[in-house]
Every structure is written in C-alpha cells, then in structure tokens.
Symmetry: D3
Subunit: 139 residues, 6 copies
C-alpha cells in the first residue's frame, strides 16, 4: 500500500447557527462564528488516497486525475461560495469543519474508487490553528 496526497485550496463564507435557536443562544454556543452577516476562510484541503503502485506507470493513481476529481466534485462547488446557502452537499448540515469534511468525503469516495484507488482520508484546515481529519464512516 502506498498513500498519495493532493493539496488544494478554496475559500468560502459560512456561519455556524441553528435556526431553531435565537441569536443569543447561537452566540453562546458558537461565539463569533454565529455572526448573522457571515464570515469566511481560506480552507486548505488534503486528500489522501491509497492503492498499489502500478508497475507500468509507477503511480498509485495519476495525480492529474485525482486533481480533476477534487476540482469538479469539491472545489468548483465550494470556492468563492457561501456554504450555508449555495452548496448542495452542505444543505442540511451545520457548516462546521467536521461536517464539511464529511461532505467532502462523500463527494470523493465513489469517483476515487472508480479510478482504481481508495479514499483514505480527508484533512481540512479551517485556519492555521484548527484542522480536522476524517477516515470515513467505517473508521
């Protein structure tokens, strides 16, 4: 098994809040992240896939193909967007980094498998101080 990782970036607006809570309760739980006027981040995404190294190409998977999958399935959906409002795979989810990582995993799992490798993990950095890593629903 070899693990290869691709780094991509996007930026987006979001807000952490529950509709059924009033502003005071949202502020208490989510702090400044609940600002009703939105805020945003430069996200850094690391996608790791695993597989056997091909004797013919020396690759687990062509990085151009991996980059294309990430671009069409994730970056084009999220970049310069408001993830609470415009991103279909975040529609019914609180826009936390944790849930965004789960959404990204679900966008990538099938296309990576179809290309002959396996999605290993998704690492998502929201700021230089905070990141999450998700290994899928079976781990």
């Amino acid at each position: 098994m070899m693990y290869i990782t691709r780094r991509e970036t996007f930026n987006a607006a979001h807000r952490l809040f529950r509709e059924e809570w009033d502003d005071a309760k949202n502020l208490e739980v989510f702090g400044k992240c609940s600002n009703p006027n939105w805020h945003g981040h430069n996200y850094v995404l690391f996608v790791t896939v695993k597989g056997h190294v091909s004797g013919e190409t020396g690759f687990v998977m062509n990085l151009k193909e991996l980059s294309h999958i990430i671009k069409t399935r994730v970056i084009d959906e999220l970049d310069h967007k408001n993830m609470n409002v415009e991103v279909s795979f975040m529609r019914d989810r609180l826009a936390s980094t944790e849930n965004l990582a789960i959404g990204i995993w679900e966008q990538l799992e099938q296309p990576v498998r179809a290309s002959g490798a396996l999605l290993h993990c998704v690492r998502l950095e929201e700021t230089e101080k905070n990141h999450v890593t998700y290994y899928g629903p079976d781990q």
Copy 2:
C-alpha cells in the same frame, strides 16, 4: 532606524461589486469575487513600525503595546465580520485588498505615532498567492 514587524490574523467575509453595476457587469470585472452570497478569507496582516532603539529597553516599541493597538483598532473590527456591512472604516470603499490595506493604515497611523514610533508599512495577505503592501499616502 530599526524596523519591527508584528504578524496578526483575522478572517472575514466580503464581496467585490459596485452597486450601480448589474450582476453581469460585476461578474465580468470581479469574477467569482462578486458572488452576491459573499465569500471569505483568512487574512494575514504584517504591521511594520520604525524608530530608534531605546537604550533603556532595547526596544523600538513594546510589542505588547503594538499588538494591543492592532487588536483594538483592526482585529476587533474585522475578525469574523462582513467587511462590506459591518466595518465602519470600510463603509464607502470597495472591499478590495488594496482598499482594506489603506483602511488598516488609517486605523493604525495615529496610535502608533502616539506610542513614539512611526508606521512604516502594512502588508496584507488575502490568500497564499496574493498580497498587497502599502507605505502610506506620502509614498
């Protein structure tokens, strides 16, 4: 003359657009940055001040004081905010990185001078690929 620099970070939402232009024209000029639903960034701010090194303290200026000025005059105004809507010193300005750097300069120039040093430049990174540097209106 010695130059000292402090690095601070904040994140914010914004949108590049002119109200008198329609969406198509805004999209043509500002691209994805004109998204009406906003997007956002982790901004990195470097503030450089200059002055003589004090024989008593070895400092141009106490960094705690510089950090406090930046925090109260800039970070508290911008962090987790929508700069088109909520930031008083950006009210009548297009929310470009250039204009944000000018706004930050204007917030800092007087308090730094009052502390005995001179503001030399403001460097503002919007993404890891783009930044601006501003040396004030006289340069």
Copy 3:
C-alpha cells in the same frame, strides 16, 4: 470517529543532561544540547482529539474548550519557562522532546476525557527539522 487538531505554540529554555554524569560525558551524549548555560526553542504543539460529531453542534468538541484546556494545563506551565527548573510535570524527567510529549499527554488526557472526547495524539515540534508524536501509553 472524527479527529480534530489544535495548534498552539510556546517557548522555553532547557538543557539535556544527567546529574550523575560529568560535563564531558554529557557533552558526548547530548552534544550542544547539554550546554550548562541553557538554550531554548519555540515549540509548536499539535493536540489531536477524537470523538463523534454532535448532531446538535456539528462539533466533536468545542475548540474554545480544547484551547482553554491546552492553555491552562500546558501553555501556562511551559511558556517563557525553564523546563528543567520550573515545570512541575517535568521535574524528574530528562528534558527531551520525547519526555516533554509524554508530560503534555499526561496533563491533557483527563481534562479532554472529562469534556467528552478522547485524546488521540500529541505532536511536538522542537525545531523545523525535528518532531515527535505520542499516542499514549497504550499504543
């Protein structure tokens, strides 16, 4: 399971040596790190905790709470300190990066558990060329 990581920094002085060895022996084993006049580092600490994502908040654990635990249990103890002399949880330990990571783990394991998550690993960078990772005494 979701893994979330918080990055914090502190700086400290230390010295690698064994009291029962003379200076020559300490120099032979620990090199420049045994300097009797001390030296120091900017340490970078990554604390990773794991747990289930709450349906209510979208969080494994509120990062403000995690940051508060790290600050009170680790950063306040170590920052701008001499770890051989002033840090209670390093009292009877050689001040190596390995032992410091173990000490930090022991400081964090209980409070993280009390907050409803599990401490997964502690990664400690001493310089940009060297770091250690510790997954606890059971791994």
Copy 4:
C-alpha cells in the same frame, strides 16, 4: 511507543518515461513530466522511526545518528543528482515519487534497525501540492 521524525531536503532532476514507449505515448501518460530534457524538484523528506524512550537518554534514538543515516544512505545519493541516471537504488525503477519513496525506505530500513529503532514511515514531498507516504512492504 514514541515516534520521532526528521526532516531533510534534497534536490534532483528526473524524467517519467518508459523506454519501450515513444515520445507521444510517454507524453500522453506522463504529461510534462516526460520532458526528454529533464526537469527537477526540491524534495522534502520526512523519516519517522519508532521505539521505546530510553530511561537513560530520554531518546528513542539519537537524532544525530538518524540524521547521519539519512545523509549517507539517501541525501548523498540523491542531492544535486539525476535520479534516472546516477542513483543506484533507482536504476530499474520509473522515477515516480512513489518509487522514490520505496527506494528510500529500502535504503533506511536496515541501518535504522541496527541503531535500535524501527523505521515507521517515509513521507516524500515532490511539490507543495503532492506528497506520498510509505509504511513499508508489510503494510
């Protein structure tokens, strides 16, 4: 178990191609990386070893010794070299990042074991966007 990691850098030229394929086929599969006139990279290598922390030294393994092994077995072989032409352990391998990581693992596994620790993984960054991680043939 404690994991310690050492970061080293080298730069080298290479080319991705199969001799039995013509230029058009190589270009189709390997893109710009098949340029017959070579291209090159600044590689960043992270070597992680694991073991028990010595009560006497506080070390898993003396980092000077680990650095010396990496330097003599890997860096001296690769730095400022053409890996397709001059590097014995890459002689019969396609010069992909995956295969280079395998080659580096094979260079390091025995000497690290002889020093009393175990090689855990090799992480090799080819560019800031791409890296591979290899845990050895048994994983």
Copy 5:
C-alpha cells in the same frame, strides 16, 4: 502608490557551468550545481507591481491579468523545462538564480506596463534557504 504581489511556482532542471572550463574547474567554482547530468528545483516566484488604486475597481491591476501575464511569459516557458537547453530568454546566460531573475524581469516589464501598472520587483526562491530580489536595471 500601492504594491501588489502575485506568487507563482514552477519547476525546472538546470546546470551551472561555463563551456570553456573543464569539469574540474566547473566543479571548483560551482560545486554540485555543475553536475553534467543536471539537477533541478521547485522555484517560487513573487512578482510585485505598483500603481495607483483605481477608484472604479479598487485594484492597482486585475490579478487575473497579472497572473495571465506571468503564466504566458514566464511559467509556460520554464515549467518542467531544462533552462539551459529549452528556454529562449536564458539561451546565452549562465543559469544562476540571479540571471534567471533578470530574464524573468525582462519577460514581464513590457506587458505589465502595457496593462497600466509598473513592475516593481521580482523575487525568486531557488530553495528555502536561498533567494534573490531584482528591482530592474535602473536600481
């Protein structure tokens, strides 16, 4: 005056040598960089332009346009190339970082001027330890 900077990356092979010197003399002056089999780097390029901030757009210059100029005039010429053999603007120059920065300046100066801004400087990083900055032939 406002200064805006764009960061771009490329990788290339090169060799430092003078044809009229033999290998021993080249090795003496240029060290490992004279390896006849080539070596290579991931170069990081920072291009800074200056100008007045437009009241209409808030821009010194549209970054998409600056990025396009850099891509077509510099990156497409250098990326995944051998700069001694394939890059027209390096044809009669020793492939040092200094000369490469001068070549890049000459490629960019006119197109930036045509876009309404002025090229201020070119900063070129060859490795994380070495970079050069060039402000043009008049400075």
Copy 6:
C-alpha cells in the same frame, strides 16, 4: 544591483532585564521575557547582500562563501548558547531582538565587504509573530 538572501537558523536562551532594576520593575517592563530562569527561541535569520552580477559566474557572491561567513561569525557564536552569558558581541547589550540584529550586522558587515559584496539588511525572526529588520547604522 541584485540582492541575494540566505536563510539560517539557530536557537538560544536569553532574558530581558536590567541589572539595576529589581524583579518587579523588570517584570513590569519586560513581562514574561524577564524570567530569571531564562527562556529561549528558534531564531530565523535572513541575511541580504547586494552587488553586481558577475559575468563570469552569474553570482553576486558565492552562496557557499556567504553561508560560511554567517556560520563562523554568527551561528557558531549563538547556536545552543545563552546570549546574555556566552556571546561576546552581546556582552553589554540588552538581549532584545533589535539589539541582536545590530550585533549580527556588526559581525557580518566587514567580512561581506571583504568578499566583494555589500551587506544590505539583516532580518531576524524571534517567533512567527515578531521580527525585526536592520539596514545598518547609516539608514
């Protein structure tokens, strides 16, 4: 004129204090940096020299020579040392980043001039949040 910059690192212990002040006064002015038991940092040093590009070598100055000057004049003096106690060129100076930059400038100015280039500036990072830049006593 071309500017070339070399990055080097060292780590050291220090303390900010004035002997004629008591501990309370030192704590008031210098905060945690006045800890009598010392603390320390990983310093990052950028040395920039300027000069004309040699037609023979393509260099302003051989980087090996610049690196050797920095190593023998600065790094060997400071690395793994206590700068208040052991570093001759810091003997009668408060150990602030500002004064350390001045001391480093004085160590480098003559040897760089003797090598045929001119020292342009010294940039010294104490932490990732703070750095100083010094252009010499005439600027």
